[in-house]
């Protein structure tokens, strides 16, 4: 909307210098017209003076109005022939309107009807061609203005879009590197170092693999479900280092689905959500069930976790899950792929991945 009003601003009236320059150029043309008509029609200078004054008041105003005509009738047609015919027609009409309107107005300043008609006859050709000329000059000028303004807004929009994308990328990067997860994991690993150096070593490798997977893949890629589940499994194993006694993961995977493709990192937020509302909030043991089924139309993945109802935080309104919904909509153009089933103490997120992608 802002860009639109920017374009709408009149290129001549938008500042005083442009208006002054316009008036100056107009008076130069006026002066030539005056000299020309004085030469053609050599009797009585009062009628010439009146005609010059009226004509240029009219054309001055018509030129200003022409902007709106050109602005609202920006031709989208690429047909050059049609464009030329159209422009010629408009220029003739423009020039005629000028001639007729200024002649009618001149009538009020004339006593002698005969002189008036002779004057019109003699000056018609000159005036008509000057009208055409002015039309083409103005048309050219206005079109240059429109094109340059459009370019400017295009550049601005592109800049805005790219900064938006960068922000988005930064946000997703920040979201991936959940600081609580990272620093708590490192802290637990540092504890393992004293207890069991081999376990600590393995834990560091797992954490590295996890972050490598998260960081190297770009958001619009697809990956095999077994890769994606592999990463989820890694994630759970790292959380298990932090909560060795507190979590149990059950996998129920139909291995015929191993190679089907799903959007990269789409399962990660669900896995995190299950841990966040289960393991992090529970005192008792948390169980997470992961199911992958090969249905007729879909591959269906479900994550189910238990939660203790006493925790007052609302479960299931996480931004992570909302983002998945958004991504699914963008990728598959469908709104019904993610569903949430909530009971007193279980929470389940289910995603249907369509087998046929358009």
């Amino acid at each position: 909307m802002k860009n639109f009003s920017n374009l709408m601003k009149h290129p001549i009236l938008e500042n005083i210098w442009k208006t002054v320059s316009y008036l100056f150029l107009l008076s130069v043309i006026t002066y030539f017209y005056y000299l020309l008509s004085a030469k053609i029609f050599n009797s009585g200078s009062s009628i010439i003076l009146a005609d010059t004054a009226i004509s240029f008041l009219f054309i001055g105003l018509m030129n200003l109005g022409l902007w709106f005509y050109i602005f609202y009738n920006q031709s989208k047609s690429q047909d050059v022939f049609r464009l030329i015919i159209q422009q010629l027609t408009v220029s003739v009409i423009y020039s005629l309107i000028w001639f007729v309107s200024s002649s009618v107005a001149l009538l009020f300043f004339i006593q002698n009807q005969d002189t008036y008609y002779i004057f019109l006859q003699k000056t018609f050709e000159v005036k008509f061609f000057i009208g055409l000329m002015i039309y083409f000059i103005m048309m050219f000028f206005y079109n240059v203005v429109i094109i340059s303004k459009k370019n400017k807004t295009n550049i601005e929009q592109r800049r805005e879009l790219s900064s938006m994308l960068q922000q988005e990328e930064l946000n997703s990067l920040k979201a991936q590197i959940n600081p609580h997860f990272l620093f708590n994991s490192l802290n637990s690993i540092s504890s393992l170092v004293y207890d069991n150096a081999d376990d600590a070593h393995e834990a560091i490798v797992k954490l590295s693999d996890y972050f490598r997977y998260t960081l190297t893949l770009s958001k619009n890629q697809f990956t095999k479900v077994k890769e994606e589940l592999g990463n989820v499994e890694r994630y759970f194993e790292i959380e298990k280092i932090r909560f060795p006694e507190k979590m149990k993961i059950n996998y129920n995977i139909d291995s015929s689905c191993d190679d089907f493709l799903i959007p990269v990192l789409i399962l990660q937020p669900i896995a995190e959500n299950a841990v966040k509302h289960g393991v992090y909030q529970n005192i008792e043991k948390s169980v997470i069930d992961i199911k992958l089924r090969n249905n007729e139309e879909f591959y269906t993945i479900a994550f189910k976790n238990n939660y203790e109802n006493s925790s007052t935080k609302a479960v299931g309104t996480s931004t992570g899950i909302e983002n998945i919904r958004k991504r699914l909509r963008l990728i598959y153009k469908r709104n019904d792929l993610l569903s949430i089933n909530k009971t007193e103490n279980t929470f389940e997120v289910e995603i249907d991945f369509p087998k046929n992608i358009e």
């Binding site: 006694e245 909030q281 005192i283 203790e308």
Partner: protein, 251 residues
């Protein structure tokens, strides 16, 4: 000359994190671990029961956060806060010169913290004033979502939407939920600043009401009004408080 050992309770929901502290403490004969807790509820219970000299207190925990634990303690011992990532809390610790550890921490940093704590212990400094300041400054969240209270020996966490009324009683506030009532040491000023202003209105010096639980309003003497809440609990409204309430209720 050294008197008894410093009694420690370690509170963290992650077992390896507790183990690490225990490992480091073992190397220092001045400290004795008397218990470990994995959640906020048991932490409050154990600390009130065993009265340790020092608590290592993790901030992010199930049920109650470390800060909520702090609010529910009868006598506050020396505390070393432990957190992985919490900018607001760390700022508040710095501001109030309160001991804390950022996970993961070095052995050196841990030893330095122990020295500071030992020093305070022997000088018998319990910085309770600092903890009070911390409690006030830590609630960076504009709208408090829940309030932790102690009901005899039981701890409850009440979502604020379930609270009908707050009534000032000296240093305490009487909290009326739709099920029961509780007493907690806090101030009306604090509540007014941290409760969601869309549903909570301070109608009187001593009353904050939840507008969703108002049954009716009755004229009292002079310029004051009675606000009758659900379960027939009555609050008083001053003239200005009544006007404030009228604005919220679009009367």
């Amino acid at each position: 000359m050294e008197s008894a050992k410093i009694k420690v309770i370690i509170v963290d929901d992650e077992e390896p994190a507790r183990k690490l502290i225990a490992n480091f403490l073992k190397e220092n004969p001045d400290f004795e671990i008397i218990d470990e807790c994995a959640d906020g509820f048991s932490a409050v219970k154990k600390i009130n029961e065993l009265q340790p000299d020092l608590v290592f207190l993790d901030i992010q925990m199930p049920k109650l956060t470390g800060m909520e634990v702090l609010e529910l303690l009868d006598n506050i011992p020396l505390i070393v806060f432990v957190t992985a990532y919490d900018e607001f809390a760390v700022k508040a610790f710095e501001l109030n010169a309160i001991d804390y550890l950022l996970k993961p921490y070095s052995k050196k940093r841990f030893a330095e913290t122990l020295e500071k704590v030992k020093d305070k212990f022997h000088k018998k400094i319990i910085p309770s004033e600092k903890y009070d300041n911390l409690k006030k400054s830590i609630n960076h969240k504009k709208n408090t979502e829940r309030i932790a209270v102690k009901n005899r020996s039981k701890i409850e966490v009440i979502p604020v939407e379930q609270i009908m009324l707050f009534e000032a009683q000296d240093d305490y506030v009487q909290i009326y939920s739709n099920k029961s009532k509780y007493l907690k040491k806090m101030t009306m000023k604090y509540l007014e600043a941290h409760l969601n202003k869309e549903i909570f209105v301070r109608v009187h010096r001593s009353y904050i009401v939840n507008i969703n639980f108002i049954e009716r309003i009755e004229k009292a003497e002079k310029e004051s009004n009675y606000i009758i809440m659900k379960n027939n609990i009555v609050a008083k409204a001053s003239k200005s408080g009544y006007n404030l309430l009228k604005g919220k209720l679009d009367l």
